[in-house]
């Protein structure tokens, strides 16, 4: 029963919260729809925390999503031992990077009185959840080798079963507890996304690349041409 709730129901609740509250917050309080940067208050430690954190976590997330979305392609990619070892090592290195970077970010918020003053309760909750996520992730990567391969046969089908609205919780129920924790905490992060500074992940300013430098806004249509 507990398995059913955690692996079969909670993911849907988390997604519903993320989408529903995410849209609601965007509609009623767009003003707060960002991560409240603290670089102005402290810049040096942020450099060693934020930069490695963001780039490493982005690559790790991309790997997770690729293995989930195109499991066959991912399986073929890892078919050769060289590529498998390369990806395994890269993954562990990136995981450790995120962990160290996150520790820097947390310490920065604890130690620096200015940054501490702008840290809210939900920020602390988020940092704790993220730390739990990367620590379990790195632990899994090291203790349960070749995650890139077994993910395709266990987690990927579970996620797909969720997508198909036919949750096959056995895929996850038979995995070690640490993997279960990692998976449930992942959906916990999805659940708190709309309530926390995590909302900034959907602001990707890609349109900047295509727009002209200067922006001029008129009250009314200026001329007919």
């Amino acid at each position: 029963m507990a398995d059913m709730i955690l692996f079969g129901v909670f993911p849907y609740v988390a997604l519903a919260l993320a989408i529903g509250v995410g849209i609601y917050r965007y509609a009623i309080d767009r003003y707060s729809y960002s991560s409240q940067s603290s670089q102005f208050l402290e810049s040096k430690a942020l450099f060693w925390g934020s930069l490695p954190w963001h780039y490493a976590i982005l690559l790790i997330l991309i790997a997770h999503f690729l293995a989930f979305l195109i499991p066959t392609g991912w399986g073929t990619l890892l078919g050769s031992p060289t590529r498998l070892v390369f990806l395994e090592i890269t993954g562990i290195a990136l995981g450790i990077t995120t962990m160290l970077a996150l520790v820097i970010l947390i310490f920065r918020r604890v130690i620096n009185p200015r940054v501490n003053a702008v840290t809210s309760r939900i920020d602390w909750l988020l940092l704790a959840a993220l730390l739990l996520q990367v620590v379990t992730g790195v632990y899994i990567a090291i203790s349960l080798r070749w995650g890139g391969v077994w993910y395709v046969h266990t987690v990927s089908p579970w996620l797909w079963s969720l997508v198909k609205l036919n949750p096959q919780i056995d895929y996850l129920a038979n995995l070690p507890g640490i993997v279960q924790l990692h998976a449930v905490n992942a959906f916990f992060l999805v659940a708190i996304f709309p309530f926390s500074r995590l909302v900034h992940v959907v602001s990707i300013p890609i349109s900047y690349l295509g727009r002209p430098y200067q922006v001029v806004v008129w009250y009314r249509q200026r001329r007919s041409n």
Partner: protein, 495 residues
């Protein structure tokens, strides 16, 4: 020709007494909130000095403004792709220590302290963390501190001067300084607008006021580093960037901006300029020393029938064109040519102009009578404040530009002296007039405008036709219930 109107200003530095009334008016109106304590949308600096934030003029340090790369203009902090790559950490962002940490005092300790043998004290505490702190800087920390080896000597403009000029600047009893009030320049080639990844910063088409859409701003802080004048500020409590709004809500109601209205020295002039928006980029590409002249070139004559015709075709209302004709800014910048942009070499085409201070009082004491020197041109070279320093501030290093302004300002003084005291020879007067390139009437008009005018002549606010704008954009009934910002919410994070 793509004619646009721009609400622009002139600050007459000879008249600024450095009283900071403008700063206080602005602070009370707009930035008296948590997270904004350190922001001074309007601040007054002492020059020579390092300014606020410290050494803001040094773009090797802050990398603000534009640079020419081949035949292209590029933000000095990097191109678009590079800007996106820096969103996780902006290496050029100034931190609070470059401005100052806002502070208050524990006043309650003065009355609550238990009885004792020593005086109770109110210890300074940080307004960010609330912890006791040592106050090491403030918004005008080097106020009137000319000659200081910490501030004046580190002025980025002073460092450029020769050893001899620096010594001359700091000679005992010849110490020299002037005040530089600064607000947002509402540039036509604004670097803050260009740098915003969210596209939240925009220039209003009708009046050229540059604003940050607070709901669109995602707090990437690229504008803070891109603005070479450091006039966009990051609100650390709200996670939003904010800047001078040229008091547009006041202007829309026909009132002068707060800092203009409160100016004790009456140094501030406001009016509309018409300019050719098609020429923005070509103008910003000119060589450093030509930028001030090129910008004047871009500004159009509102009396020229062709300009009027093109402006009407471009959708400018007749009232705006009339306001442009009455604009004191047009007179200062174009007709008289005595106002220059601040640091045109940043290439943002700032629309706030300064009449440089005629610091060197061009008279010498001579047996009890004061005599303006016969040849003011030589006197200028012996000026206490080197022309090179002023040229570095107001004309991209082009000393001729500053010199031309001074010839005119001096001619005004000579003409007034000839009229009111009458101790100058006709030849001297004619010579001054000829060198200035202005006729008697123009010189008189400058005198009138700088000393006798009332507020309606100094500050000519164009009709902003807000009623039409509201009707075009939204339901007037809805609008009536709002604060005029288009938002009924306080600038506060609720999530």
């Amino acid at each position: 020709m793509d004619i646009r109107a721009q609400v622009s200003s002139v600050f007459h530095l000879d008249k600024c007494i450095g009283c900071h009334t403008c700063s206080i008016a602005c602070k009370n109106l707009w930035t008296d909130r948590r997270g904004n304590e350190y922001m001074w949308w309007n601040n007054v600096e002492t020059k020579p000095g390092t300014g606020y934030p410290t050494k803001w003029e040094d773009q090797e340090k802050y990398r603000g403004g534009w640079e020419r790369v081949g035949s292209q203009l590029r933000l000095k902090q990097g191109g678009k792709a590079s800007t996106i790559g820096k969103i996780f950490h902006n290496p050029d962002l100034p931190t609070m220590d470059d401005y100052y940490e806002p502070f208050t005092f524990k006043y309650a300790d003065l009355t609550n302290a238990p009885a004792g043998t020593d005086q109770p004290t109110a210890r300074p505490v940080s307004m960010v963390s609330g912890k006791p702190m040592k106050i090491e800087a403030g918004p005008n920390w080097d106020d009137d501190l000319s000659g200081s080896t910490v501030y004046a000597a580190n002025d980025p403009g002073v460092i450029e001067l020769s050893e001899e000029q620096q010594q001359q600047l700091f000679a005992i009893e010849k110490m020299v300084m002037f005040h530089l009030p600064r607000i947002c320049n509402h540039c036509t080639n604004a670097a803050c607008v260009a740098s915003c990844p969210s596209g939240a910063i925009y220039k209003r088409g009708e009046d050229g006021i540059v604003l940050i859409n607070q709901d669109k701003c995602r707090g990437w802080r690229m504008c803070v580093s891109a603005c070479p004048y450091k006039k966009t500020y990051y609100g650390w409590a709200t996670g939003k960037s904010e800047k001078c709004i040229l008091c547009y809500p006041r202007q829309e109601a026909g009132e002068a901006p707060g800092c203009f209205h409160s100016c004790v020295g009456r140094i501030r002039y406001l009016g509309v300029l018409l300019y050719d928006a098609d020429r923005i980029e070509a103008t910003a590409m000119k060589a450093d020393g030509e930028l001030a002249a090129a910008q004047r070139e871009m500004i159009l004559d509102p009396f020229d029938p062709e300009v009027i015709k093109a402006a009407r075709e471009g959708g400018l209302a007749d009232q705006i064109i009339e306001a442009a004709q009455a604009s004191p800014v047009y007179k200062f910048v174009k007709e008289w040519g005595i106002a220059l942009p601040l640091h045109p070499e940043f290439r943002t085409l700032p629309m706030l102009f300064y009449v440089p201070p005629l610091l060197p009082v061009l008279s010498s004491e001579n047996q009890g009578t004061q005599k303006i020197s016969n040849d003011f041109f030589t006197s200028l070279e012996q000026a206490r404040l080197p022309l090179k320093y002023l040229a570095g501030m107001f004309s991209g290093g082009n000393e001729e530009e500053v010199e031309a302004v001074y010839r005119r300002l001096i001619a005004v003084r000579i003409q007034r002296r000839a009229e009111s005291v009458g101790d100058l020879s006709e030849a001297e007067l004619l010579n001054a007039r000829e060198l200035s390139g202005l006729d008697r009437d123009a010189l008189d008009a400058i005198f009138r405008m700088t000393s006798l005018t009332r507020i309606k002549e100094r500050i000519v606010i164009p009709p902003m036709l807000r009623e039409q704008a509201i009707e075009a954009g939204m339901d007037p009934e809805d609008y009536k219930q709002e604060m005029g910002f288009g938002s009924r919410k306080a600038p506060k994070r609720r999530w």
